[in-house]
């Protein structure tokens, strides 16, 4: 029987893991919700952001600049992707969209591998993130605690953009009914570009923020891609609050199962997704009958 302090540690850890997942998944869900495109390159954008952050950190020594640099590069790649390729695919069947984003994902990962090699790289946590925090009997790496804060603040910022600005209003309307939005004379093309960019930037930002915690490898994005899909399914496609709730649920499932039987943490996550698909296919906060 696990001790109270262990349970508490794992609950807390699940929140931290979950909010990072939520951040990655938000990008995925708004792209899918607005554009109707399942972005299989999302994991690759995470990797691009992380490696761009690594290089920026190596050049400037400033973690803040690294985060900005990584996000900026991911944003740029996202914009180029949308303008250059995705635009031609909106009217094509979903299989084509999946294939093209999957292909772009592979290309991006191999470019990163070509530039940086296969040996994993390290990003040191910033000076305000080294060391261990002690909360009562809980021991937790200080930087992870800070990423919890960073993820929460970023999600709040995204919430603000989506729910309190006119751009956000258009995006949410576009998620509801993009044809109507077009009919109202709003430049949907530009909105799509912005949304894709924001989604890509969210992935890249998450990549840099996560970098001091993990070993950077070109293939690391695949795991996050799969997990973020599960989060989107659980939370509901196109729903921002759904991504947050789904992320937290996923994080807790992974942590709490690992506490009892580590081998089953992945299985439980997918079992949860299966349950949601059976009993509430639109996701916990998604809407029924949405395209």
């Amino acid at each position: 029987m696990p001790s109270m302090s262990l349970v508490f540690s794992q609950l807390f850890n699940g929140l931290s893991v979950g909010l990072l997942l939520a951040l990655i998944s938000t990008g995925l869900t708004i792209i899918y919700g607005t554009l109707g495109v399942i972005n299989f390159a999302h994991g690759a954008l995470f990797v691009v952001g992380a490696y761009a952050g690594y290089t920026t950190y190596a050049l400037t020594g400033s973690f803040v600049l690294a985060v900005a640099g990584g996000s900026a590069v991911a944003l740029a790649v996202g914009l180029v992707m949308e303008r250059g390729l995705m635009r031609q695919y909106y009217s094509r069947p979903p299989e084509d969209q999946i294939l093209v984003t999957f292909g772009i994902g592979i290309v991006l990962v191999e470019i990163v591998r070509g530039l940086y090699g296969g040996v994993s790289l390290s990003v040191a946590p910033p000076s305000w993130g080294t060391g261990i925090a002690r909360i009562g009997s809980l021991i937790y790496p200080l930087y992870r605690l800070e990423t919890l804060g960073i993820a929460a603040v970023t999600l709040l910022l995204l919430y603000f953009v989506l729910y309190r600005t006119s751009l956000g209003l258009i995006v949410r309307a576009g998620i509801e009914d993009s044809q109507m939005v077009n009919a109202l004379g709003i430049n949907v093309k530009r909105t799509f570009l912005v949304v894709f960019g924001i989604g890509a930037m969210a992935a890249g930002f998450a990549g840099v923020v996560n970098a001091p915690i993990v070993a950077l490898t070109p293939d690391m994005g695949f795991r996050y891609l799969v997990d973020s899909f599960v989060v989107v399914v659980i939370g509901g496609v196109g729903s921002f609050p759904g991504a947050v709730v789904g992320g937290i649920i996923a994080g807790e499932i992974l942590s709490l199962t690992a506490m009892i039987n580590p081998q089953y943490s992945d299985v439980m996550l997918f079992a949860a997704m299966a349950l949601v698909l059976i009993f509430r296919p639109q996701g916990l906060m998604g809407q029924e009958g949405r395209e």
Partner: protein, 453 residues
């Protein structure tokens, strides 16, 4: 006893012998008139096997490399490709450094140039098997080599066995590769988990102490489980206790849950079974959770480049087993040859994946020379003959019963950053283990080799 024969029988025998001699003479005379006849006759004795004889009829032979150029082990795959290419180049040139290992290799193998071609296994058994099949059918490969993941190596062994083509692993840590999944046409030059665990347990007991409590981080696949099983077996013999075994998915990025579990026990040794980036992640995160302040790190089967990935700061004091460390060149001239040749061509020090690749190709070529033929069963029998060769990792041969190589391998301790004499000087080699002394008893891993044809 022969005097018991009757005159009639003796006459008959002599008649038989005479007619055989006559026929033989006629045959030799006839075949000298028609040079091709002898070769055709010999080929007709043996049915084609794999890419033989087609692959050996030109002036070059093809070797197929199934290496992981993408996926989590791409660093090992790239290094293997380099080393196979280097070995082929040196063999083709008749490099005297090769002759120190195999005196029979004069220029090329049986006078033929070795051509190598690489395909990306992607660290996936399916992809690897498809690549190997294409190599054998389309390129007429007479040998296939390369692996990092045991799952891939085992799959490749099976398909190469079916195709009667010798296959050499580069890296494969699982017991099963020369255990229950052994194959007549599969060979493993490198050490594996059972051997390294048996070797390191007493050394770890000496370095870290006898009454240690060990926590294991085990990747959830064949290699992970067999390694943990072996390490538990041998460490418990030294008086260690196994406190917890945290099994994680292969490729997991976040070890926080497992590390929190471990932090909540009284374990004082962290046994990291994971390989590649998984090990780098696990150790980095263990440091972040403050575990390295109170726990020692043990790597019973370390992946090459881990020291570069986590840095000397995290590697210091850790005990690791690996297939090769470049400072072995100080005591072994053949190791010096290899390190220098690799460094000159590729601008970096080789790790153990490169060493096993280099060795595998040379030992295959040596076997072909000894068999005086590319005929696959003859090559296999030559490899099973127990001929010992001098190599960068000591004297080695393959065991006939399970095709497991018995090369020596180093146990190493991570140096303090202040003690490093150059940027690559990560380890002190504490001991070079005699591979033969740590092989399991024949049959223990459960190997039953199949037929030759």
């Amino acid at each position: 006893m022969d005097d018991k024969k009757t005159l009639g029988q003796a006459l008959q025998t002599r008649v038989k012998r005479r007619s055989v001699l006559k026929a033989g003479a006629a045959g030799v005379a006839g075949s000298m008139l028609v040079p091709g006849a002898v070769r055709v006759a010999m080929a007709e004795d043996k049915a084609p096997l794999g890419a033989w004889p087609a692959g050996s009829q030109g002036d070059s032979v093809f070797v197929g490399l199934t290496v992981d150029l993408t996926g989590p082990y791409s660093a090992q795959g790239a290094e293997q490709k380099n080393a196979y290419e280097l070995a082929a180049e040196m063999i083709n040139a008749g490099d005297p450094r090769i002759q120190k290992i195999s005196p029979l290799l004069k220029k090329g193998v049986m006078g033929k140039t070795i051509k190598v071609g690489a395909a990306d296994s992607e660290t996936k058994p399916n992809t690897a098997v498809q690549a190997a099949t294409r190599f054998i059918h389309d390129n007429k490969a007479l040998m296939v080599a390369g692996s990092t993941s045991s799952a891939v190596a085992i799959a490749l062994q099976k398909v190469c066995n079916r195709e009667h083509t010798p296959y050499f692993t580069a890296i494969s840590g699982s017991t099963e590769t020369t255990g229950v999944d052994c194959q007549r046409y599969g060979f493993r030059p490198g050490y594996y988990a059972y051997m390294s665990c048996k070797a390191i347990a007493p050394v770890a007991a000496k370095e870290f102490g006898k009454n240690r409590k060990a926590a294991y981080l085990t990747p959830d696949y064949t290699y992970g489980h067999t390694t943990t099983k072996s390490m538990i077996e041998f460490s418990e013999k030294e008086g260690w206790k196994t406190v917890t075994n945290q099994v994680h998915p292969l490729g997991a990025k976040d070890y926080s849950s497992y590390l929190i579990n471990i932090a909540n026990t009284d374990a004082d040794v962290l046994v990291v079974v994971a390989y590649g980036a998984d090990a780098a992640n696990a150790i980095k995160q263990a440091k972040q959770f403050g575990l390295l302040d109170k726990m020692k790190v043990l790597l019973p089967y370390m992946s090459g480049y881990l020291e570069k990935e986590i840095g000397a700061d995290l590697m210091q004091g850790a005990l690791a087993v690996n297939g090769f460390w470049w400072t072995m060149q100080d005591t072994n001239p053949l190791a010096k040859d290899f390190v220098e040749a690799y460094d000159k061509k590729f601008g970096a020090k080789p790790r153990d994946a490169a060493l096993y690749a280099y060795l595998g190709l040379i030992l295959w070529a040596d076997a072909v020379e000894r068999a005086k033929s590319f005929y696959p069963p003859d090559v296999v029998k030559a490899l099973e003959a127990g001929v010992v060769r001098d190599t960068p990792v000591g004297k080695m041969t393959f065991r006939a019963e399970d095709h497991q190589g018995d090369a020596s391998f180093p146990i190493m301790r991570g140096k303090k950053p202040a003690d490093m004499k150059n940027p690559d000087d990560f380890f002190d080699v504490i001991e070079v283990v005699n591979g033969k002394s740590v092989l399991p008893p024949v049959g223990l891993p459960g190997c039953k080799l199949g037929g030759y044809v």
